[in-house]
Symmetry: C2
Subunit: 253 residues, 2 copies
Amino acid sequence: MGKIMAVANQKGGVGKTTTAINLSSCLAAAEKKTLIVDLDPQANTSSGLGCYAKDTDITAYEVLIGNASAADAIVSTMLPYLSLLPSHVRLVGAEVELVPMVAREHKLKEVLAPILSNYEYIIIDCPPSLGLLTLNTLTAADSVIIPIQCEYYALEGMGQLLNSINLVQMHLNPELQIEGVLLTMYDGRLNLSRQVAEETRKYFPEKVYSTAINRNVRLSEAPSFGKPIILYDILSTGAQNYISLAKEIISNG
Amino acid sequence: MGKIMAVANQKGGVGKTTTAINLSSCLAAAEKKTLIVDLDPQANTSSGLGCYAKDTDITAYEVLIGNASAADAIVSTMLPYLSLLPSHVRLVGAEVELVPMVAREHKLKEVLAPILSNYEYIIIDCPPSLGLLTLNTLTAADSVIIPIQCEYYALEGMGQLLNSINLVQMHLNPELQIEGVLLTMYDGRLNLSRQVAEETRKYFPEKVYSTAINRNVRLSEAPSFGKPIILYDILSTGAQNYISLAKEIISNG
Ligand SMILES: Nc1ncnc2c1ncn2[C@@H]1O[C@H](COP(=O)(O)OP(=O)(O)OP(=O)(O)O)[C@@H](O)[C@H]1O
Ligand SMILES: Nc1ncnc2c1ncn2[C@@H]1O[C@H](COP(=O)(O)OP(=O)(O)OP(=O)(O)O)[C@@H](O)[C@H]1O
Ligand SMILES: [Mg+2]
Ligand SMILES: [Mg+2]
């Protein structure tokens, strides 16, 4: 049965999409059948994999609102073991349309259930907020990966995120665990970076991955070619970092 | 009468807070009476100025929901001509509580009206979304400053933001203008950075400030000391960039 992992943090620009794309690509390269779900109306995960959904395509919006099944929306990617459930900007509407629905936080879990057994891993990219889209993801997920940018504001929002995770564990999904905390855009030459890394390891003892993702311009170039880092520049530090992260996650089980 | 400028972009981590804090500080240093409003539940603008609102303090949440006036919430900062209307994480609740209210998008405009004449500039920092908090800001604002990070995903979200601005102009605030587009985290050595800057200038002819904010580690260090860049390191490139931006904005009138 597929393990569902959310990639979430309401702080913007911390590397959620970059982690979702590149972790899932490395899992697929290790021949683990993987589905990546784009639950952000910005659709950066979709475009970062070269997929630009049109108005007539079936996307996360149609699946979540109940007009289509997940299987209808899922497309292949340039990696054999990686499939994508794409997003579109119209997903913004779902935040409002879900509000009056019964069991509105459970919609994603319901629509993923029929396809769960087709994958070993399901990775879900979240928008930078703690609204209904992120709540749906945390309710559907077995665990959550928290990317933390090695910058000052990074730890400020942790209380809010952990609070939301607690609320989900109490009322919506008691099984939800923290899969791990990932340091992103790490630069060992900067005091600030080292300080944030040290504080994060104190704040989350035993949860922070030994792999940190270094700041690496190749990671920010890859999406403009619609490719994950392992297809854009396998020799880059970014690719090496995400390969080692995938190894850690596979071995954690 | 105070000119109200929103700093908005739903893409996360593009430098909204950094721009709100440092632009308003430079305007204050030029002895323009300035109010900075933190309308993001992450409250990064507040903490970046050394203000950590407690549960008992009056913040943007109490003002927006109608339990207090703006004047009750406003506090001074270390700069004589700069005041702050702080935020707190409980502001998250406002997104939901505002939904059933009459004229819910006009709340911020209503609460700012009584204090408008006390300031020459009012700068409002937005969260990374296009929900009711950002709609309130765009409805209250005379103009909007759009920070664009010099990275690939930066231009992807522009259509969505311009669409929202159009909707606000049609239904909520016909006077709303684009004050300007600001390139942030610019690094002239990187192809990607130069490409995004070039594309942005094509996409927004005559709206892009000639001042670009360079990537500068001192900008990301300053908030950990609760200081704007001009008090943390006036000699840094970051300080020079924001001083020159303030000059451009003052001369644009
Ligand atoms: N390790 C890294 N090194 C260099 N650039 C990076 C790295 N990780 C991400 N980036 C770049 O930083 C920017 C922000 O990353 P990304 O979009 O993945 O963050 P996010 O958390 O998904 O943002 P949002 O909150 O808007 O969804 C992007 O332009 C991305 O290419
Ligand atoms: N020009 C710059 N050079 C270096 N670092 C910067 C620069 N501008 C901003 N930063 C850093 O980048 C990170 C993101 O910036 P900031 O928090 O201002 O973005 P934001 O758009 O307000 O994010 P959010 O979407 O979460 O509100 C912060 O850690 C900040 O210190
Ligand atoms: Mg993202
Ligand atoms: Mg911000």
